[in-house]
């Protein structure tokens, strides 16, 4: 279970910090923060004085805004959508928008997903908004007027979130929006069939009700002028609306459009003729939005081209699935190389790609395959290969190497005093929930800058939802989300996903395991040995060894267990603990070691989880999708004839020089009838040092397999 810290409860006592073996905890903004990338879920931090600020709910931990997911799900399970909505409102001012379109990192880490299906958290959030009322307003409070003025540039999720919380802190907030209606990318970049405009307007209205003034059609060119007008602080949240160019010949062809520009024009009601055939270049949600929108504008055939494979596609699975349902075609491992006009159409030349070594993003680099060029003609080409912020030079802010605004990551303060920045303008295109989280962070920092205490925490619903931990003994799948039939969709922009009924929502909410109420499950099950993705894949008890036919206990082979019979005379068992002691390891490092061992044709243990993660035991290659996972440690187990000891250890030694962690290396051997060990003799002969302490089997178990 992943750990998280409840910022408002944490008093920054630092007691948890030394307990973390991965050094993943630091104090930021007066509370402890757990680096999600470094946390290996060992839960040792929980040992620190039974800290009430530490929780282990993977859903809440992975929510950038830290919404108390189990609590609101319990309220829904109890038939209390008002309370559920209030819980969501404690952390975000956009429950509807997140209910419709959040990319839901919470669901990806939901513990229930290890057993059957993750909880449909996003749909339950939408249910809470659709069925909850304004109970949350009863406990929502605003601080007395501070006399300070704040200007927010941009009315997207980051800007409006900051404006909302700053207004509640008593500041006078004005939001400047260049476009005719507020909402930023939520309004202009997401099609109506995914996110209804009424939902956006309703939530923005709530923000305006706190006293926030929104000035539309008001582009800001100078921050200095805002200060001259009397503002005490400025938040720059201008988003990333400028489409990235593909960088290929002919992309200025009039039949080529940029996705965000295309989507904005459609939202504005501009008449756009896309013709019958449309190519969309890119693999993100904007690409899918553009493709599905093109279908609704009358295109007969829409194809998405992506230069990597389906696995690397950043678009969410559900969006891709809906696109497929609607008839969008996907062409993977193809990159455009040139666009030209021919016979009134855009001729798009492609080169096929193959995946190479990981690039800076950690994804495999698409490598062009020589001689694989092909071309296709389309009426319209839509480029959706990324976006950048348009940062006016007059803002005079430090810009980072990725053309985004540079900020102090702890405070979001820019290079200019009194100016803060957040959202896509700082991170590049990310997500609504991350932008909301940035807005919260900015509000805290800016309130402190303005003399406040930065306290934006609210309790809008009963702090205890009740309920009890549930077990997963009975498989129960999540419900299929009701949707419009395809023939009803393509004639317009009606909402495709339909909401849950009350009965569906309660039943789905009752599947939640309530990890927040479970105690020390992680320690009981020794998670440190198990990569997150395979934490539930324990060794298979009772699986007989192929070689001996004797059942063993999976990964317990190296415990010199005398019933497994795995250690034949004349053979050596090899156990390598990658990441031990106490350093942790990336699976990429494990992959380096297993590949090196595979070259020497060692026999990997069948029941070992690392062996199970190999694509092919003859190469030792681990599955691509786990290579960036981090674990406290894991054990690779193999056997080989003793004659090859020097060769195997030498190769292993060489491989350990290439990794960024430590490896504890052990060799196991069966005794000769006289009690001597050929392995010890061989190590002595080869001059390979070994420790004076080790493990010996007392020979009390039975029967000892004689192989």
């Amino acid at each position: 279970m992943a750990m998280r810290v409840e910022p408002e409860v944490c008093v920054a006592c630092e007691a948890c910090i030394p307990y973390c073996p991965m050094e993943a905890i630091s104090i930021q903004e007066n509370h402890a923060v757990i680096d999600q990338d470094e946390c290996v879920d060992c839960c040792l931090c929980q040992h620190a004085q039974s800290c009430p600020g530490l929780f282990k709910t993977p859903c809440s931990q992975s929510c950038p805004a830290g919404i108390d997911v189990p609590r609101y799900i319990q309220f829904i399970a109890d038939g209390k959508p008002d309370e559920a909505l209030a819980v969501i409102r404690e952390k975000i001012p956009f429950p509807a928008i997140c209910g419709f379109v959040c990319f839901h990192p919470c669901e990806a880490r939901c513990a229930r997903g290890r057993f059957d299906d993750s909880i449909a958290i996003r749909m339950l959030k939408r249910f809470a908004w659709e069925h909850g009322n304004g109970m949350w307003k009863g406990k929502s409070k605003a601080a007395p007027t501070s006399g300070k003025r704040v200007a927010v540039i941009g009315s997207g999720p980051a800007g409006l979130t900051a404006a909302y919380y700053l207004a509640k802190r008593g500041h006078s907030v004005t939001v400047y929006e260049a476009l005719p209606e507020p909402g930023g990318m939520m309004l202009w970049g997401i099609p109506e069939y995914r996110l209804p405009r009424d939902a956006i307007r309703s939530e923005i209205k709530e923000i305006e009700d706190t006293g926030v003034e929104i000035k539309t059609n008001s582009r800001v060119d100078s921050i200095d002028r805002l200060f001259e007008e009397g503002y005490n602080a400025v938040f720059v949240a201008i988003g990333a609306h400028q489409g990235t160019r593909m960088g290929i010949e002919g992309e200025d062809n009039p039949q080529v459009m940029e996705a965000i520009d295309f989507l904005r024009k459609v939202k504005c009601g501009d008449a756009i003729a896309v013709g019958n055939s449309v190519a969309v270049i890119g693999g993100g949600n904007s690409a899918i939005d553009a493709a599905r929108t093109a279908l609704r504008l009358g295109a007969k055939e829409v194809t998405v081209f992506y230069r990597r494979s389906e696995t690397e596609m950043p678009a969410t699975d559900e969006e891709v699935q809906e696109a497929l349902t609607e008839g969008v075609k996907f062409h993977y491992l193809a990159a455009p190389s040139r666009i030209s006009s021919r016979g009134g159409k855009a001729e798009l030349e492609f080169v096929r790609t193959e995946l190479g070594a990981p690039d800076d993003s950690g994804r495999p680099r698409p490598m062009p395959i020589k001689g694989s060029e092909f071309s296709m003609s389309f009426d319209t080409v839509i480029a959706a290969v990324g976006q950048l912020p348009e940062i006016p030079r007059q803002f005079d802010l430090a810009i980072g190497p990725s053309s985004v605004i540079e900020v102090d990551p702890k405070t979001l303060a820019t290079s200019k005093a009194g100016v803060f920045a957040g959202g896509d303008a700082v991170t590049g295109p990310a997500s609504i929930i991350r932008a909301i989280a940035a807005g919260r962070k900015a509000a805290i920092s800016m309130d402190r800058y303005l003399g406040g205490n930065g306290y934006i925490h609210e309790v809008l619903a009963p702090s205890e939802a009740g309920g009890a931990p549930r077990d997963e003994s009975e498989e129960k799948r999540r419900p299929t989300t009701p949707t419009l039939r395809v023939e009803q969709r393509l004639g317009g922009f009606s909402q495709v996903e339909l909401g849950y009924s009350k009965e569906m929502a309660i039943e789905e909410a009752q599947r939640c395991l309530r990890c927040d109420l479970k105690e020390r499950e992680c320690l009981i099950f020794e998670p440190s040995d198990w990569p997150r993705s395979l934490r539930n894949h324990f060794s298979e008890p009772g699986v007989p060894h192929k070689s001996t036919g004797i059942a063993g206990r999976g990964t317990e082979e190296m415990k010199t267990n005398d019933v497994t019979g795995r250690f034949k005379r004349g053979w050596v068992g090899l156990g390598i603990d990658v990441g031990r002691p106490g350093i942790g390891a990336r699976m990429r490092d494990v992959d380096t070691l297993t590949r090196a061992l595979a070259k020497l044709k060692v026999q990997f243990e069948d029941n070992n989880p690392i062996t199970k993660m190999m694509v092919d035991t003859s190469t030792g290659k681990l599955r691509e999708d786990i290579l960036n996972e981090k674990v406290m440690s894991c054990v690779v187990e193999a056997v080989f004839p003793i004659e090859r000891l020097e060769e195997v250890l030498s190769s292993l030694r060489e491989a350990t020089r290439k990794i960024n962690t430590v490896v504890s290396v052990c060799n196991i051997n069966r005794a000769e009838p006289d009690g001597s060990y050929p392995l010890r003799k061989k190590l002595d002969e080869l001059g390979i040092p070994y420790y004076i302490n080790g493990k010996q089997n007392a020979g009390l178990g039975r029967p000892l397999a004689d192989v």
Partner: protein, 205 residues
Amino acid sequence: MTHTLHRRGTAESLSKDFVVMTLRAMGFNNEGYLPKCQEFLRIALRHNPVNMASEMKGNRFEFPADDIIAEANGDSFAVFDNPADLTEFLKEVKEADLGLSVIVSGIFEKVDECFEKAGLKHHTANFSLGIWGKQDLLPDNDILEVTTMCGHGMIPANLVKVLVNEIREGRRTPEAAAKVLAPNCSCGVFNPVRAAELLEAVASK
């Protein structure tokens, strides 16, 4: 698995550190193994173990020994700090004839002596070839000697450093500091007696 093979230290220090574990094999002798594990723990308790645990329950620094035995669930562990107690324990385990695999982790020569006195003959050995790879990531050897007494890496190096400072400042005794560390090693193979000695030695430097 190789967890107790990570233990580091001088021969003198490791001569006061013996871990015994009893293991069942799933699908082979796991049926009805729990009463045998409970008996293993009861026998251990008669021979002055410095720690003991049942894998799924926890260790002696988390729960009273009686609770561990009563609620044993999983493989079992006991730690001794001298060869005499280990020998007597092994004798009694042999006599009990539990039919579960019993592994002893310690200095080979010392364990051999105990085996001989207990009338046992080992048949398999696991040798540690040490820690390879990027060793500059490891804490100082002084700290490592303490942290490696939990093979799962659940004794955080930073916590050891904090406790060493507290011992230096007279705010905690070495024994009390060892008791802060011991619960973290859920399997109960952590030797708190040896830990106290090591912590005291580091604090006095």
